[in-house]
Subunit: 238 residues, 2 copies
DNA sequence: TTTCCTTTGTGTACGCTGTATCGAGCGGAT
DNA sequence: ATCCGCTCGATACAGCGTACACAAAGGAAA
């Protein structure tokens, strides 16, 4: 009987590898793929490139992964498995730590924030663990389950949205060989100048000429995260 | 002199179309592309498909658009131009209206929330207008420009993150011909059951069996948005 | 009117992608 | 010794984005 492709990926992976002697394995595949994506970005991930990296024929990985979507899911789990979960903290510290931890994971693996829509849904064990941790952090505070999940998803949405933006900027910069915020703004200057010349954006223009933290991403991330957590605290009557 | 490809897209578009009699135009291209994407999703957008839709050879649109990235940017602007901006409201009502308006735009055009990273950065006039509107809503409240921009970007990050998730779920459902949340959960049941059988997610399991608003997306969206706005309000009163 | 130049759209082609399919070889159970 | 099932190799195909050279079409100048 061939591998049952209809079962969930995680169930398939759990069944003991029928024979332990093969040259390929899900782990080896995931590691190679993550290494390539870390070094050259998500668009470098190609079934052929992956096979080359593994020293194997183009179709070989398909024995372990039903297609590219499966591969991405495997990559997601591979990196999420390395995430540290906080324990024994209050709800706010927990959510904060989880958000910052996710951010750090995404800084380490820029492609995580650029996954195609399908892979964003990947319900991998690692992501389930993050969800569970968030929910338990909010448990026992008198919230109904819908609100608990809603709060978790809101924080997650913020993190994903913020990192998706940052990561897109990073990708653009490295693609254009820009290595600082100043170089980026120089590159974008003609476009911005054109917009500003229309006179439609006076407040934006004021920001451009007087802001001093344009490159402090961590400060920006924390600002929004803290606002969100403050608002959640309001809902918790604390 | 051929069209100057190095100038920003918006500057190029503004120069009067050299001759108004041609069969193709940026507007016609944008409309056709948006129509296809609305009806069949972003992955149906292909330079060849677009050309077919316009009754034209595959390479013809390249006269008006330097590549697929440019096309997506054009599409983004085409739909953002139809967004209504609130006027004369307080900061909170403005930000709320902007967020809800963006959400509605993304519900009308599901592909908006699935754009590839590059296109997410597109500084189109329509998106600039949203930014300007947000900033002016926050102006005159004693905030420094960095904080104003940080707040705008936080709300935007939340909206993008939340809609990116919803939109991915929608895409998955229509791809699998699922038409209700119940059908979706039935489809996912084997995977969820496998996760739950591990016993690692008791709180999640409790949510699954007792939650009653799993399909109320608007409620979920508003929950997070209101938390975020509440948190911003805290920052404004100090 | 004839000529010519610029713009607009056509045709063809290349290298790349994901992946279906078929066949070869090998290891372990019968 | 035989067979079977799994692993991996080779080949192939349709589809993608887009580079490039050419044809038609319209206005300006002669």
């Amino acid at each position: 009987m061939a591998t049952d492709r209809s079962a969930p990926l995680w169930e398939r992976l759990e069944r003991p590898a029928p024979v332990p002697r093969q040259t390929l394995s899900p782990q080896r595949i995931a590691m190679a793929a993550v290494a390539v994506a870390d070094a050259e970005g998500l668009e470098a991930i190609t079934m052929r490139r992956l096979a080359t990296e593994l020293g194997v024929a183009p179709m070989a990985p398909y024995r372990y992964v039903s297609g590219k979507d499966d591969l991405l899911e495997l990559m997601v789990e591979h990196v999420y498995a390395g995430m540290r979960l906080p324990g024994g903290l209050g709800w706010r510290e927990s959510l904060h730590a989880l958000a910052v931890g996710t951010r750090e994971l995404m800084l380490e693996h820029r492609w995580l924030a650029q996954l195609p829509p399908q892979s964003k849904l990947a319900l991998t064990p690692g992501r389930m663990a993050v969800a569970e941790q968030s929910l338990t952090a909010l448990d026992g505070l008198g919230l109904d389950p819908d609100t608990m999940m809603g709060i978790f998803r809101s924080v997650d949405a913020y993190v994903q949205g913020a990192m998706s933006y940052d990561s897109a900027v990073d990708a653009f910069m490295s693609e254009q060989s820009l290595s600082s915020g100043d170089e980026l703004r120089t590159e974008l200057a003609p476009l911005m100048a054109w917009h500003m010349r229309t006179g439609h954006y006076p407040t934006y223009q004021h920001y451009l000429s007087t802001a001093t933290r344009k490159d402090d991403r961590r400060w920006q991330f924390d600002l929004g995260l803290n606002c969100l957590l403050d608002g959640i605290a309001v809902r918790l009557n604390m």
